[in-house]
Amino acid sequence: MGNAKRFILAVLLVSVLFTNGGCSRKDTKSDQLTICFAFQDLETEYWVAAHKAITETLKAKNIRVLQRNAHQDANRQLEQVRDAIAQDVDGIIMIPQDGQSAVTIIGEANKAGIPIGVFNRPPADRSNPALVVVADNTAIAEDAVAYMAKAARRLNRKITPLILVGDLGDQNSIERKNGFYNAVNANPDLFKKPIEVPTKWDAVTTLANLEAALQVEPGVDFIFTSSDFLYPQIKAVLEPLGKWKPIGDAGHVILGGLDGDSTAYKLMREGYVDATGVQDLFFEADAIMKALIEAIEKDRTKPDKWIQDPGFALTQENMAERQMDMWGCRILKEAEAGTTK
């Protein structure tokens, strides 16, 4: 058979498939729920822990989970969610790449009549209805920085604050920055003009930018990181400068962050970090799953509800009472208990 004939045969096969092969949406529907969990990547401990909590809980409920990693590519995430919609999933949980792409992807789910839940990183606007669980980032950051300011005041001098700013395409970053400024602006006599270091939520970028910032302004004595996953970079920059000192030592840089991961907990326990804002990861994961499953069961295709995680600031003062409310502490203690068994 010649090439041309084979080609025609192949085209015919494809045509038959595309014209008559389309099966209806309900053809293969089983009783088991299927949820697509589309996440942007797992680059931080927070996302890894959230991924684990969500997938394990859903599987324990006998729900089929389709996991899709977009590798920080908004277009890929859009394609993955579209594919999941075509697969007739019952619901979608998404950690979007950013707030803008979240709006577009929610729109796709709305159009298809599939309920969608957005975890922790909210859409840029509320034009398309979705279930959204998000921490009160402004308040949590403000509380953590307020405690750091209290510690700074004891030094009886003007302080040079620095903030590691996240990707400003992410609403969480903007709110954390706002919380930082709320606390700094409440103490005009204490602080000099803050230095902003962009991180784009990337460890390598953070390292380079923080090094550059401290070369220009070596007097920085107050650092707030918009995410705890950047503590190793802070340590890598401060240590060679002789500024990585525990609380109480001369030259200690007042440190704080937000997330509540195990690194932050360890550094608080060792006395390097003064305060950290804690998002209640387990509450957030549980809330989004409950809300989505309820929407599926009640056949609500476009549920519209924003659930807020109030969070809190874990400080050196309240650590003894509240450390077990910090998800990073719980994970660490579980791991430590596991290794000692």
Binding site: N3, F7, L13, R68, V103
Partner: protein, 347 residues
């Protein structure tokens, strides 16, 4: 005869169909109308990029800057036509008040906004292609190095121009370019099929096409034969830049935003699809149909992996493995073909 199928020009299509049927037998949703629509909506913008990349591969080069052209043209176009800018995100931008403001981009609200933005996006793509082509052809710089540097430079420029912010509020008429349709036909399909037809005419029916293959097969011989090799190489990069600009239009429209990170992870898909289609990395070999087949296979593969209840990391492993297998098959085909001394047509 199996050897015949393997050596066929349509081998990748046959492979795609067989694979599709196999997956369809396991996952019936594969052939659902919505899924087919998804498959094709993913094909068009990728195909635009692969066609552009093919021109550069044919002349023995490689264009790693395509994705950065997408990023920079995406934000430049959006700056012209976006209807609104959020001051909280953009007021510290050096272009605030000059190119855009809270009321939108330079031509926001004007009927010219979308056509001018589209023309600008294509022109910038062409311009960057011209510069990289010039560096390769006239300065004799290695294409890999030139386009790698261009990728780094223009990706950085896109982030600098926007301070890493996405630009939303693009006009509906622009979004329709990527997501709309004319009658039952998606507009993206119309655009890319036109591009493919243009590429076909250039490669198969024009003297430029012959020159492109001649340069890729042996640049010295081509030069001795009177082919203006420098201009041909530059034109290949210009066409690649044009295609990247077009890809940027389609991707920006479907994502409804100008994005400084647009296409950041797309390069493997572009080059992977080209190689799977049978476009040689050594130059002198490539056809429009090969690009179509490569993209089809790649998109079907991606789509099918999304159907499977696999752990996310195993999807990446399987995808990488299948691309490697396809590349191995291509090498095998080339070896069998050379043993049988099958004459290779230029087109």
């Amino acid at each position: 005869m199996p050897g015949g199928i393997v050596l066929s020009d349509h081998f990748v299509l046959v492979l795609t169909v067989v694979y599709f049927l196999l997956i369809w037998s396991i996952y019936p949703h594969m052939a659902a109308r919505r899924n087919i629509a998804n498959l094709f909506s993913n094909v068009w913008p990728l195909l635009a990029l692969v066609i552009g990349q093919m021109f550069v591969l044919i002349v023995g080069g490689i264009d790693l800057s395509q994705t950065s052209i997408m990023a920079v043209t995406s934000v430049l176009g959006a700056m012209i036509m976006a209807g609104r800018f959020d001051p909280a995100k953009f007021e510290h931008n050096p272009l605030w008040g000059v190119v855009f403001s809270e009321q939108g981009g330079l031509l926001a609200g004007s009927g010219w906004a979308v056509p001018v933005a589209i023309m600008l996006m294509l022109a910038v793509g062409v311009g960057i292609g011209f510069v990289t082509g010039l560096a390769v052809a006239k300065l004799k710089m290695p294409p890999f190095m030139v386009t790698l540097v261009a990728m780094s430079f223009f990706s950085g420029l896109a982030i600098y121009l926007t301070r890493s912010e996405n630009i939303m509020h693009l006009p509906e008429s622009f979004i329709a370019v990527g997501k709309g349709s004319i009658g039952p036909v998606p507009s993206a399909m119309l655009i890319v099929v036109t591009l493919a037809a243009l590429a076909f005419v250039i490669l198969n029916l024009s003297i430029l096409g012959r020159w492109l293959y001649a340069v890729g097969q042996n640049i010295r011989t081509a030069c001795v034969s009177g082919v203006p090799t420098g201009r041909v190489v530059i034109l290949a990069y210009v066409f690649s830049g044009f295609c990247a600009g077009l890809g940027s239009i389609l991707y920006s429209a479907r994502l409804e935003a100008g994005r400084p990170t647009l296409g950041r992870n797309l390069l493997l898909d572009v080059i992977g699809a080209a190689v799977i289609g049978g476009i040689s990395l050594y130059g002198g070999k490539g056809r429009v149909l090969a690009a179509v087949y490569g993209v089809l296979f790649f998109v079907v593969l991606d789509n099918s992996l999304n159907k499977m209840p696999l752990e996310f990391y195993s999807i990446d492993i399987i995808k990488g493995g299948i691309i490697l297998l396809a590349a191995l098959l291509d090498a095998l085909r080339t070896r069998i073909a050379s043993r049988q001394t099958v004459p290779e047509g230029i087109s």
